[in-house]
């Protein structure tokens, strides 16, 4: 593939220039200078002829005399811009020195530059090279952006498809292992139990990864659909705290909610915000020492309300803070109970919160721990 990103060198040989002048001698002089540089030249002796030649020659640049009988250079330029829009080649006006005041009018008509007669060959060559290079770079950039957005869309489709097709088999593996562990097909020997628990654990963490990849792909592909309804933050947090406490008890960690007597209502997609609350609470449990307390504080101030999850972990190293909400942004800090991390959880949280026009941030609490704060627009 011709990759303009890694190959920015610009070869301008063979680029097409349309020179328009009613003065044959001028045309011959300019034609000579430019052919010498390796450009392909077409000539026109009037504005009308220029419009005709432009259509067939499709030049990369137009040199346009201002003073011509019939339609003049400015009018020709305006017609070209009207006919070809963004795709119109750059137009350089050619004017006599005494007409220098016309330059402003030329820019108004859509010209990019001007040359004065009599020509100084080096100036002509330099200015034309600059504009041709610019134009080529713009074209290359457009191509590149198009290629990249196609590649990105393909990546999202691929990711979504993979995740989809991996998910069902993985959930069956996990489910079957769990059922076997519950003696669904009879009592297991200790070794069989250990093996089945390993299968269960491995499929569980793969399933989580696949689900997170699927979330990322869905969000990136712009398919994140929010079903917003007025919702009590306290209600959502309460439910998450209750469910997470069951898992947290394994680490002897306790999760508490502090409402401060507030019960703010926000317009949110409940499942999505629940996912954010769950994720932040799980992280807090994951990175706090065994036997600690995680606090979820409800806040409401002005037009925003939300919650903050405060842990007693090691806090976020300042040098790694920038990675925190990015895809696969794993930090050097490790979970305290050997839990798994994909590095996608907080990136998903950020995308969900931002889709609600909210904000998510983190502060280190002096002393110990980190506090993740989510703020959402209050229900009107």
């Amino acid at each position: 593939m011709d990759d303009p990103l890694t190959n920015p060198s610009i070869d301008l040989k063979g680029r097409r220039i349309l020179a328009v002048d009613d003065d044959r001698i001028n045309l011959r002089i300019i034609g000579g200078i430019l052919r010498n540089e390796g450009y392909e030249i077409a000539e026109a002796a009037s504005g009308e002829q220029a419009l005709e030649v432009y259509a067939t020659f499709q030049p990369n640049l137009v040199l346009l005399d201002v003073m011509m009988p019939g339609i003049d250079g400015f009018a020709t330029c305006r017609t070209l811009k009207k006919n070809y829009g963004d795709k119109c080649a750059p137009v350089i006006f050619v004017t006599a020195k005494s007409e220098a005041d016309d330059v402003v009018m030329g820019f108004d008509a859509g010209g990019v530059d001007y040359l004065t007669k009599p020509f100084r060959p080096k100036e002509v060559v330099a200015r034309i090279r600059t504009h041709l290079s610019n134009q080529q770079l713009v074209e290359q950039q457009k191509d590149l952006v198009q290629q990249l957005s196609k590649a990105n869309a393909a990546k999202d489709r691929f990711l979504g498809m993979c995740a989809h097709d991996l998910r069902n088999p993985l959930s069956s593996i996990r489910g079957l292992a769990e059922l076997m562990d519950e003696n669904a097909i009879g009592e297991l020997t200790p070794e069989q139990r250990e093996i089945i628990q390993t299968i269960h654990g491995a499929s569980q963490s793969m399933l989580q990864l696949v689900n997170e990849l699927l979330d990322v792909a869905t969000i990136e592909a712009g398919h994140l659909k929010l079903e917003k309804v007025p919702t009590s933050i306290v209600e959502i947090v309460e439910r998450s705290v209750h469910l997470s406490n069951i898992e947290a008890a394994k680490k002897n960690t306790k999760i508490e909610m502090v409402t401060g007597g507030m019960d703010p209502i926000v317009d949110v997609d409940r499942n999505k915000i629940r996912q954010v609350v769950d994720n932040l609470i799980n992280n807090a449990v994951k990175y706090s020492p065994r036997g600690s307390i995680v606090t979820v504080l409800i806040h409401s101030h002005g037009a925003v309300a939300g919650f903050a999850v405060r842990d007693s972990g090691p806090g976020i190293p300042e040098s790694e803070r920038h990675k925190l909400f990015k895809d696969y942004g794993r930090l050097s800090t490790l979970p305290t109970g050997g839990e798994k991390s994909t590095g996608l959880g907080l990136a998903i949280c950020r995308k969900i919160v931002e889709a609600h026009n909210g904000t998510i941030g983190v502060d280190n609490i002096p002393g110990r721990g980190a506090e993740f704060i989510v703020s959402l627009p209050l229900h009107k």
Binding site: S171, S172, I185
Partner: protein, 139 residues
């Protein structure tokens, strides 16, 4: 789970059928029929007349929605629980409009699937009307 009836399990993926049927047996369901697509499911339904159908949404040959429609034509009172892999609101709404009793995400943990199934059974089979009967035969 307090259910002595029979269940027809319809899914094109063998591992899902394996998983759900083991789960059902673990929950005490003894009469389980399986079908790998909608048209086979209709044949089995007519022959065996199960009390409840667990029906996958995405299947080749005849998809879940189409099968649900056909089942309801055979028996408007048949109890159908949809099995979905992604919670697709539109499909779920369509299934409910066609008379599906509930939907279950098959990527959920066994415990959660069991809970959803029990609540559907409690809703659809009143306790004073004992369902099913006969001698349980292992599948």
């Amino acid at each position: 789970m307090n259910f002595s009836g029979s269940i027809l399990l319809v899914d094109d993926e063998a591992h899902i059928r394996k998983f759900i049927s083991l789960l059902l047996r673990h929950l005490g369901v003894t009469r389980i029929f399986e079908a790998q697509n909608g048209s086979i499911a209709l044949e089995v339904y007519k022959k065996e007349q199960p009390d409840l159908v667990m029906l996958d949404v995405n299947m080749p040959v005849m998809d879940g929605i189409e099968t649900l429609r056909a089942l309801k034509e055979i028996n408007p009172d048949c109890v159908v629980v949809m099995l979905t892999s992604l919670a697709n609101r539109q499909t779920i709404d369509e299934a409910v409009a066609l008379g599906a009793a509930n939907y279950i995400r098959k990527d959920a943990a066994p415990e959660e699937i069991g809970r959803a199934l029990s609540s559907t059974i409690d809703d659809c089979f009143a306790p004073d009307e004992p369902e099913g009967g006969g001698t349980p035969a292992d599948t």
